[in-house]
C-alpha cells in the first residue's frame, strides 16, 4: 500500500516550471531514492510534501488523506519528518537539548510551560542517541559537532519525532566514507519500521540503501525502478549519470 501518493503535482514560478505533473508512490516500509540533476525539482517536491511551498495543482495523499495546503507543523504532526539539505540543528543547544526539543509529543504551548526536565523523553533520547552514535556526545553543544555528527544529529532529530515517513535531503553529503557506511547501516535498519524518501547524489550510498529509485528531470518523472534497472536505462544515463560521452555531459 502506498503511504505517500503524489499525483500531477505542478508548480510554476512565473515562466519557470519547477514541477510538471510529478507523480510518486512510496510504499510503506521501503526506502525510495529521488535522483536527478540539479534543478530537477527534488527539493521542491520535498518542500511541497512538508508544506514549505504550495503546489499550484495536484494532490498529495499521505496515509489516505490529502495534505496539500496544510501548514508545516500540521503535516509534521501527521507523521512526516524532514532532514534538510543544509543540516539545521540548533547550534547553541546541546545534542540532548536538540533531541528533547524534537520530542514533540506535546506541542501545546500552555502545557509545555509546566514541563520541566526531560522526564519521559529520557528513554527515547537514549535510544535515538545510541542509534545515531551520539550517545557519548549528549552534553556537547551541537555547534561543536563534526559535519558527519551534525548530519547524524539531524537524522536523530527526525527520528525523535517517530514519523511514519522520513524525508532525507542529502543525508550523506560531506560524510567520510566510513561515516557514509554507518549511515547506510542506520537507514537499512530504519526501513524495517519506517518509510523513507531520500534525495542523494552519492551513488554508492543509493546502491546501499534504495529499494526503489525515481529519477526526476525537469520537474517530472523520467524513470522508475530498482537501482539496477535505472543504471541500465539509456535515457537516465544521458541526462544524469553521464557515464558515456564526456562531451555529451558537458
Amino acid at each position: 500500500m502506498g503511504l505517500l501518493k503524489i499525483t500531477g503535482l505542478s508548480k510554476k514560478y512565473g515562466a519557470v516550471t519547477v514541477l510538471d505533473g510529478f507523480n510518486l508512490d512510496v510504499t510503506e516500509c521501503t526506502l525510495r531514492c529521488l535522483l536527478g540533476p540539479n534543478g530537477a525539482g527534488k527539493t521542491t517536491a520535498m518542500d511541497m510534501i512538508t508544506g514549505r511551498q504550495r503546489a499550484d495543482t495536484g494532490s498529495i495523499l499521505f496515509d489516505g488523506h490529502e495534505i496539500r495546503g496544510l501548514r508545516e507543523d500540521k503535516i509534521a504532526r501527521r507523521g512526516i519528518g524532514r532532514k534538510f539539505q543544509i543540516p539545521s540543528v540548533i547550534r547553541d543547544l546541546t545534542v540532548q537539548e536538540n533531541l528533547f526539543l524534537a520530542a514533540a509529543d506535546e506541542v501545546n504551548p500552555l502545557r509545555n510551560m509546566f514541563r520541566f526536565g526531560i522526564g519521559r523523553a529520557r528513554g527515547r533520547i537514549d535510544y535515538v542517541a545510541e542509534l545515531v552514535g551520539l550517545k557519548t556526545r549528549l552534553a556537547a553543544a551541537a555547534g561543536f559537532l563534526s559535519h558527519g555528527e551534525t548530519q547524524w544529529l539531524e537524522i536523530g532529530i527526525v527520528l525523535m519525532q517517530d514519523p511514519k515517513l522520513l524525508l532525507m535531503d542529502e543525508p550523506a553529503a560531506g560524510m567520510t566514507e566510513h561515516e557514509a557506511e554507518k549511515t547506510v547501516e542506520i537507514f537499512n535498519m530504519l526501513k524495517k519500521t519506517h518509510t523513507l524518501l531520500v534525495v542523494e547524489h552519492d551513488m554508492a550510498f543509493v546502491r546501499g540503501v534504495a529499494d526503489a529509485v525515481t529519477v526526476m528531470h525537469l520537474g517530472s518523472v523520467l524513470a522508475e525502478g530498482t537501482m539496477a534497472e535505472i543504471e541500465k536505462n539509456d535515457e537516465v544515463r544521458h541526462v544524469y549519470l553521464g557515464t558515456g560521452d564526456v562531451a555529451d555531459a558537458a
Binding site: F84, L101, I157, Q161
Partner: protein
Amino acid sequence: MTSSNLYHNSKAQWAVYAVFFIIVLAVPAVIDDSYTLNLLATFGVFAMLALSVSLVWGAGGVLTLGQGVPFGLAAYCMAMTMQMQAQTPDSPMPPFMANNSLTQLPLMWEPFKSTTTGLLIALFFPTVLWTLFGGLMFAARVHGGFVAVMTLAMLSAIGLLVLDIQPYTDGANGITPPNALLIAGHSIDPYSPTAYIIVAVALVVLAALSKALLAGKFGLVTHAIRTDSERTRFLGYNVFLYQTLLFGIAGFIASIAGCLFVMLEQYVSPAQLDVSFSVGMVIWTGVGGRASLLWAMLGALLINAGQTVVGDTLLNTWLLFLGIFFILVVRFLPKGLAGVAEWLVGFFLRRRGPAQHQAVAPAHEGG
C-alpha cells in the same frame, strides 16, 4: 550552551536570582526615607518593563519598540480608576472634562466607577489588545526588524490618539488623580513601605515566573524559534502560538507595570506612550543584557539610578551620554553587562577544581 562556566549552571542562576529577590524585598528594612523608597519602587516598575522586553527580545528574538502600548494603556486605565475614586455623586465628572465642554461623564469612563472593574480593565484590556496585535503579526510571519517597525507604528498611533481625544484624556496634560489608590477601604500611600512592597513582590513573582517559563520546554521551544523558526515548524510546533503567547505574557507584565506606575506617581500623560520612553526600555534591556532576565532588570535599575544621580546636573546632555553608552555597548558588548558577568565568572571560577563537565546538560538560557 555547554560549558564548565558556573554562569550557565541553572542551580547557580536560581541562587543568584534568590539573592536579588531578597535584596529587592529587604530594601524597606534598610531605607526609611519615603522619597527614596518611592523612587526605588518606580525603578522596580522600570525593571518590570525591562523584564518584559527581555522576554520578547532576548528570549523570543523579536525587537519590540512598542512595549509602551500595554504599559501606557494600563497606566491610563489605572489613572481613570483612581480619578473616579475621587468623584462623588455631587461631582460625577473629572474637572478637566468641564473645561473641555463635556456636560456628562463619557461612556468610556463609566466602567471605571467601580474600582474592581477598573483594575480588571487596566490589567486585561491592554494585554488582550497587545496579544491580538502580536497574533496578527505572527500569523503573517512578520519577523525581525519588521516587528520593531510595526510595534513602533502602533505606539505612535495610540500615543497620538490619546493626545487627540483631549475631552476624554485631557490630552497633553494627562490625568492626575487627586488621591492615592484606595483598595478595599485602604489608601495606599505611594511613599509608604506598603507601596514599595506591592511593587517589589510583583517584580519578584513576575521575574521568578518568567525565569521558570524559560527554564521549561516552553523556553526550549522559544529558543529554537529564535534561532531557526522554520526548523521548529517542521518539528510540529505551532510557532505562531508560541510567539503570540510570549508576546502576550510580556504585554501582561507591561500592563501590571503600568498600573503600579500610576499607583506610585498618581499621574499619567502621553509621555508614557512616547516613543523615547519605549526606546528607553530597549536601551535598559540591551545595556543590561537582553538574553538575561536578571541583567535586563539590573540594566533598568542601573541606568535609572545613573539618570537620577547625574541626570539633574547634565539635563539633556545625559541623553547624549546614554546614547553614546548604548552604541558602545552594542558595538563592544553585544551581550550587555551580562556578557561581562559571564566572562568574569568563567575567568575566576574556571580553575577551581578539575575542569569537570557537568553530567547534566546545563540550562539553555543565559543567566
